[in-house]
Symmetry: C2
Subunit: 274 residues, 2 copies
């Protein structure tokens, strides 16, 4: 393979498997090239990612070392993603009874989900999570895409214990807004013991669900090291969890005029005060 071909192939292979570590020797045997040549190719590939701004090629030293492609979204592109999400959420025909909004088309749209996941992948890139956890149903695409970008496995908490989950741990919890009792369960085979979890969900009002996930994970000695939600309602101000990161905030929804107040979280990439 010619040099330009090797570099193009590197870009395709690395960016196609975000955060997966490839050893130099894998590329040497794939390209039939010497280590010194592949090293030079990688330097060029690194320069290309600087120009496109879509990712970063990082070198990991040591025996298990190699290179990996870390997806990157600039603050400018993240702000555009937030603005687009706000615009979509303000569409008047989203207003349902009880102040609810129809968001399934957004949460199940691969391209929109991908952009939101890129924001979370940047936010939580160094959080050290072993797993991504979500609760069914609408947060699953966002959680899975974030997991793909961070190269992590994921666990989905179910509303009801299913026969196909085997033995499960269940809790009853109070949903934050309605104070209604709800149930959630997690398979014992999900094997989370002693690990660190990043919770990703589509929507947070009172924080009851996320608090429930956190409680159920603590039964497995799993620590929650981050919480990302696509949309957080500004009320109630006091949530059942303290440290969470929304992409956008949802304010007042007027059922008469169909006006929907939505605004971006401008502090999204700032370190938490906690």
């Amino acid at each position: 393979m010619k040099r330009v071909q090797r570099i193009g192939a590197l870009m395709e292979i690395l960016s196609g498997s975000p955060n997966k570590v490839f050893s130099l020797s894998e590329f040497c045997s794939l390209f039939g090239a010497a280590k010194s040549s592949v090293s030079e190719d990688l330097a060029q590939a690194r320069e290309i990612t600087r120009l496109t701004g879509l990712g970063k090629i990082e070198t990991i030293s040591g025996v298990t070392g190699g290179v990996r492609y870390v997806p990157f979204i600039s603050e400018e592109r993240a702000a555009q993603c937030q603005e687009k999400l706000c615009r979509k959420l303000r569409e008047k025909n989203r207003v349902l009874g009880g102040g609810f909004l129809y968001t399934s088309d957004i949460m199940f749209h691969p391209a929109i989900v991908k952009e939101m996941a890129q924001v979370f992948a940047r936010k939580f890139s160094d959080c050290g999570a072993d797993y991504i956890v979500t609760i069914e149903t609408k947060g699953i695409p966002l959680a899975l895409k974030t997991a793909e970008l961070l190269n992590l496995p994921s666990v989905v908490v179910r509303r009801e214990a299913k026969i196909s989950e085997g033995a499960t741990m269940s809790i009853n919890y109070l949903s934050g807004s309605s104070e209604r009792m709800q149930k959630m369960s997690i398979s014992k085979r999900a094997a989370l013991s002693g690990s660190r979890a990043l919770i990703i969900d589509d929507f947070m009002r009172g924080g009851g669900s996320v608090r429930g996930i956190s409680d159920i994970l603590s039964e497995f000695d799993t620590e929650v090291i981050g919480i990302g939600v696509a949309i957080a309602n500004i009320s109630p101000e006091k949530k059942k969890v303290s440290d969470y990161c929304p992409i956008v905030y949802l304010g007042h929804v007027d059922e008469e005029t169909k006006e929907i107040e939505v605004f971006p979280n401008n502090q999204i990439f700032q370190k938490s005060a906690l």
Copy 2:
């Protein structure tokens, strides 16, 4: 930008948005290069995809024309994916009571889901679907990843009508195996009228769920043009749908010895007889 940089950037951008059509002029303005240069770069990029075998760069002519990256999995890699899935499914600790298998770790693992989605993206690349449809919960990641690769929106049928779905259409149906009555519902806002749907799900036994999806879609004049399932049980032989494509077949599950019979669908890329 230098030529090698433009080609590397093309690989990163095109492969990062599968099946999205980019116009030549987008790249001209991005790179500050003439159309003739970008055309030559694209010819090189096309040659690179031939060497890696991971995708194809196709040219679409006409006013709305441009280029797009179509992900590609070779028959050899598809067979490896099937074999890997078989190996994982044969793990003895998957056997639950009633002959059920624990598969959540597989269906929620981004890397495994991605490979299965690549198989479906090849199988259904020219099927002309407008949407991908699945039913909650375990098929969602596979359906969404297939939708991402085919650049299609997706719709998730719910087990119960939720307030956040707005007005819904519901049906009761008989699950294929247990003949138990179940319910499914779809939001009227999912706006499927008069379109063509590809159904993707994680598991099929009797085909009752998929038949239910098909029935509920027909209420919206939506035609089902393909059915892909990760795992199909070989029994009952007579399913409630006739034309479906599994990645692997599940045979006998022995609850005593924990032996699980799984084998690949060797005809996966063959045209259906129907």
